[in-house]
Amino acid sequence: MNFNLSEEQNMLKDSVARFVQDEYDFETRRSNAANPLGFNPDNWQTFAELGWLSIPFEEAYGGFGGGPTDVMAVMEEMGKGLVVEPFVATVLMFGGLLSKSDNPALKDANIEKIIDGSLQGAFAYVERQSRFELADVKTQAKRDGDDFVLNGEKTVVFNGAAANKVIVSARTSGEQCDEAGITLFLIDADAPGVERTQYRLMDGQLVANIKLTDVRVAASQVVGKVDEGYTLIDSVVSDVTIALCAEALGIMQKLNTTTIEYTKTRQQFGVAISSFQALQHRMVDMFMAGEQAKSILYRAVCAAEGEADDLAKNIAALKVMIGRNGKLIGDEAIQLHGGMGLTDELDVGHYVKRLMMINTTFGDADYQQQKFNRLAYAE
């Protein structure tokens, strides 16, 4: 038993940490996010050069062949820098679906381009009515000869504005909420009938709604198998959840450190507010919340590395705790910063907003707890 990173993983983690340290101060981050793409394309090329974009892909396709631990190491550091470049959307979600799809032609055509930084991708899975149900899919795909014709609307597509290609979940059979009958299609973002509306989220992400009107897709562009897209979605969402939670852990650690430092300098009633015992105990609660979050992240990563039977339960538990402890840490960080915590100039609010978006993504803590309950207590 050990909880150490390998030498290679440590180097990877350090390289991300160094990038954040050197290239990602708060003002630079702000201007990166303000880019019309929603991120800085030069940084993306740097990521490619440093090999980060290759991490989760098989070596056969030019990848690094990394696992959950490698992804965790990278994401934790990205969290500390609030990196806006779409590593999750393009590499882990879009790339993850292709990578796990067992479809060599699509892999050949796309993975190399992800790795060299020339292809931006997105995964469109949310619909207006779907809330957090990945299987609630109304977008229709009708077969027409060798093609499928797609109609419907996807909302809140991460990296949807900058993506060159988008994987879309659509219904090829079954009822609105059935897991069976969902198929994944790889489409060009500028294909005829694709209409994008872009907007920003509070964490700085540029996202898009995507309307599909009679969009024609060749059957060869089906990712995975017809009607069996849900399994693939479920597996990739599971990987990405770990990644997002690692990012959240980085953020929580940063918020804890920042808050402690702030209270040591902030004077009220003639002394540093860090000397108030009531605040000290609350910062201990924040610290414990961070340590517990770290532990359950390690647990989920170990389960994923070992392909454990109870992986789904571990991941639901992870998402619950990251959501709840993230909220505790975020709330306290703002409160203990007092009025300063309310300003947009300090980074605290930005970290908190990103934590909030991570909590929401794939279902908030309450939603995930019900999933955990079903897995753990339903006979």
Binding site: Q129, R131, Y199, I334, D344, E345, T360, Q369
Partner: protein, 393 residues
């Protein structure tokens, strides 16, 4: 123990409802949700309607244009106003500086300022907090030095809500730095058009402009604008703080927000079922609703005790702490209800075209609401006050 309404009180309730039905129009409600000048004009229009009815200033002495409602009438008005979705008045003039003026000001000050506050001709803001002194009000450093018939004011105030609209600011300033920290503070009324005042916008996490820094660079303020005696300002300000805490509780507004939330929850579908049927969400709702049911009576108890001449007193800290906790719990539920759409910023597109219409508002309310546990004396300071003055610790 009796809270049943008398026939007179029921008649008053009908009168309030009729007034709201006629005056709180959908058009006004739309405009008041707007930004900047549109908001300001609509808010003033609303206050003028209340003033025309004689209902703008409960608690003010009747000779200055106040309305002498009983605790019950006040409760009825607030409940009905809030259930109709109508906003509270902007407190800085009507609820904060006015009681200081009619309580401690001289006759000339009363005649000069109170009528203009009633007619919403002056928009006031509050100059208490400073960069170095947040909840520790008495640490303030903005200084006022006597120079003939004027004070020369230098320093800065922060977190000044709506300073960008304000005609006047009421300030605590230091006129003597030699004694105890609470001594040597004076209470000044300052014209925002005075030379030397700069208002700097503070960008805040709700992406909305309400907070400001107000900088004073050799600003001349006539001694005639000082309330009461020099160096005694802390006494006047303190009397006001308890009142501020009570009104921050926002019980009536929280009731309406909960009611509206219930409706939205019954419309939102999750996994084929309305979210209101979700036991976990029901429990979050009822956790908050039960606290609010209690707090409504805590407030009534405080008001009844005030009416008995005992004053709101230090129990008002409890109202402030619980009231703001409830507000934040409600804001959080709106966020969780909105899900992904809770993150949507206004852009070229309206919220409706993107997803849920209420996502953007939920986020704004949530983010702005973070301030409630910090301003008006942070909840931590309220606990210190309660520990010391109520529990004797």
């Amino acid at each position: 123990m009796d809270i049943t309404f008398s026939a007179e009180e029921l008649a008053f309730r009908d009168q309030v409802r009729e007034f709201l039905a006629q005056n709180w129009t959908p058009d006004l409600a739309r405009r008041i949700r707007g930004e900047d000048e549109e908001f300001k004009a609509a808010q003033i229009e609303w206050q003028n309607k209340l003033n025309d009815k004689g209902w703008l200033a409960p608690g003010w002495p009747v000779e200055h244009g106040g309305v002498a409602w009983s605790v019950t009438e006040n409760f009825i008005f607030e409940t009905e106003r809030s259930l109709a979705g109508a906003p509270d008045v902007v407190p800085f003039g009507l609820k904060m500086v006015a009681p200081v003026i009619y309580g401690f000001g001289n006759e000339e000050q009363k005649q000069r300022f109170l009528p203009r506050i009633l007619k919403s001709q002056d928009w006031w803001c509050q100059g208490y907090s400073e960069p170095g002194a947040g909840s520790d009000l008495a640490a303030l450093k903005t200084k006022a030095e006597l120079d003939g018939d004027d004070y020369i004011v230098n320093g800065a105030k922060v977190w000044t809500t709506y300073a960008q609209y304000a005609d006047w600011i009421f300030c605590l300033v230091r006129t003597d730095a030699s004694g105890k920290r609470q001594d040597g503070i004076s209470f000044l009324l300052i014209d925002m058009k005075s030379p030397g005042i700069t208002v700097n916008k503070i960008s805040s996490i709700d992406d909305h402009h309400s907070l400001n820094e107000v900088v004073f660079d050799n600003v001349r303020v006539p001694v005639a604008n000082r309330i009461g005696e020099q160096d005694k300002g802390w006494t006047y300000a303190k009397a006001l703080l308890a009142h501020e805490r009570t009104s921050i509780a926002g019980v009536a507004d929280s009731k309406r927000r909960l009611r509206d939330l219930r409706k939205l929850l019954s419309e939102e579908i999750s996994g084929g079922r309305p979210l209101i049927e979700d036991v976990q969400f029901q429990n979050r709702l009822s956790n908050t609703e039960i606290e609010l049911m209690a707090l409504e009576y805590t407030e009534l108890r405080v008001l009844a005790s005030t009416a008995d001449g005992k004053g709101p007193g230090v129990e008002s800290s409890l109202l402030k702490i619980k009231g703001t906790e409830i507000q934040q719990a409600i804001q959080q539920m709106y966020m969780d209800l909105a899900g992904y759409y809770s993150g949507v910023l206004h852009g070229d597109e309206t919220a409706e075209s993107i997803g849920h219409a209420f996502g953007h508002d939920a986020r704004k309310a949530y983010m702005y609401g973070r301030a409630a546990t910090i301003y008006g004396g942070s909840n931590e300071v309220q606990k210190n006050i309660t520990a010391k003055y109520v529990l004797g610790l």
